[in-house]
Symmetry: D5
């Protein structure tokens, strides 16, 4: 699986509506939080290995009503206690 | 209690109207100041321990007329003379 | 529980040693990933509700050998399918 | 009284020692918190009206061992319920 | 007296009209210059000691037609040859 | 295959020595250029699908003598004329 | 040949349409990828030695529907195993 | 003579039209180039010693159709082989 | 006369010593203030029309003990009530 | 010919020595100025068409004593009155 973090800046007052729609409509979502700082939300998604991350972010996430900007961070490796 | 600082950038000329409404309508407010620098206002809020800070900021504060951007800083610990 | 994300910038070549020590020594860790972009690592931690986040970050994480900078983001609410 | 907020970036692992010294040695302090984001601490100080803020920040605060940078925000007006 | 510097970013082509109005309408002004760099103008104002700087900037300066952004710097102390 | 772009900031005068070593020692390299702007070099690497990108960047690239900073961009999809 | 990298920020949801048009209409293109980070796309172009890069970027690329910003990096030299 | 460099950010697709008008209409121009990086154009102007640079930039250059932002750098001294 | 503003970032605790030396040793100085924000000091200087500003800043000001960075803004025109 | 602008940040007090050496030792130089703003110097160079710009900047310019950082902008086209 591929793991990505996407941070969302939303239009004023729209962040929770965006978070609700992420949970309802995007099945690849693992978790979504409202956060401190510049961005309103951070979400983690698991995608199939051959899935196109760019298509997912620009065609599935950026088009949600209320989203004004996104920032994508790819997680390369999960360290664990083994 | 949870303590947060929220800085507000307002539309030109709207900062004091925003400050007045914060004082009148947001009972969780502890203090609000107009400030030097990039932001127009800084406010401190005390929220109940189980209160959702993100919901408070995006649904109660960002929707006030005249607010164009917010930046949220969480205060973790109050140091004191004990 | 309190949830925080901490991003780490490490000295050149030190990021994986830092990640290993996070997993071995910091029991509050939930997950840690190496990432794209400016920072080398992102980690998520769960802390007890009364735990002091600032103390945890500055006294437990920043002091790990190889860490040159940290950025802390507090997660306010976990949205879920309920 | 004059009210200022000063944010502190400290050397890794030094933030709480700085906070303790602020409380112990700087009597003008009103409150100090560890925080999320880029800076480690935010503190509020009340100074006498004729007090020189710049002297206070550069000669009293910047010289504390462990402080690597400061950012000063002046609070102009405290809005209140009157 | 309180001394502040305010930098102005104006809409394209509007900077000199803003400067003229500052001189004509804002009696607290000491000097205003067009400048190099990102901002179009820098102005210095002297305000009475009890005057509210934030109110002055947001209600008197930001509302001038052609102003798109302001940045306020407070001058704490004037060093002199004594 | 996974495709990544890595930008390198090098110590003054060291960029070409770093570029030469990238070509000689890093077989996953596809191309490396000296560039305009803030960074000195941009390089593209192809990694096996199961290869850990973070490990590659921090343990293989950041440790090259003369490298002072890196910025990693992951390429998700190669568009083509098909 | 001259080699340039151009990064594209697109309007929300428009990045893949822009990528498709780059491939279909811009014959100087060598490759285009969707990417992590702030920009949506990175593309590499080969231009004839006497070709005007600025004209190409502003008159051929910036005018594509959906493009909101571009950043151009010139590649000076391709290092190779020769 | 006074020497200044002005960098121009133009609306998408407008940079060459702006450059042409600079050459045709602004006789103080010495040279103008399209460039790599964030800005689209850099131009150098020679102004009479008593000429007001700020007026020139805001009233003559910023008002050209297609200009969205300018950044002015003043050249203090020309070093030469003498 | 030429008018310039120079902002100074000083080493921690050195700002007032720098300000004192500016007043004592730099006769071109008009005024110097300690300030809010990122920089510690702002100073205004009047130079003879044929004076080389760059030489003045780098050879006279940057070399003062305790100065770590400077930022120079040229004032083009003083607007006045005439 | 290829035209590039290189901006130089120098160690405090070293900018004029760097400028002198640029004029004396770098024959490709066309002009060099001390400037306002963040950088100390801007220089323009003309290079033969087949000359490697990256090599020139990193091996000839960055190694001059006193240079702490450089930023390279490529000039694509010189607009002219024809």
């Amino acid at each position: 699986m591929q793991t990505i973090f996407v941070q969302f800046k939303c239009r004023p007052g729209a962040a929770y509506r965006v978070a609700d729609r992420l949970v309802e409509e995007i099945e690849e979502i693992s978790e979504v939080y409202s956060t401190s700082g510049h961005y309103d939300l951070i979400a983690k998604f698991y995608l199939d290995p051959e899935r196109d991350i760019g298509h997912f972010v620009t065609e599935r996430l950026q088009v949600l009503d209320g989203v004004s900007d996104t920032f994508t961070t790819v997680a390369f490796k999960a360290f664990g206690r083994g």
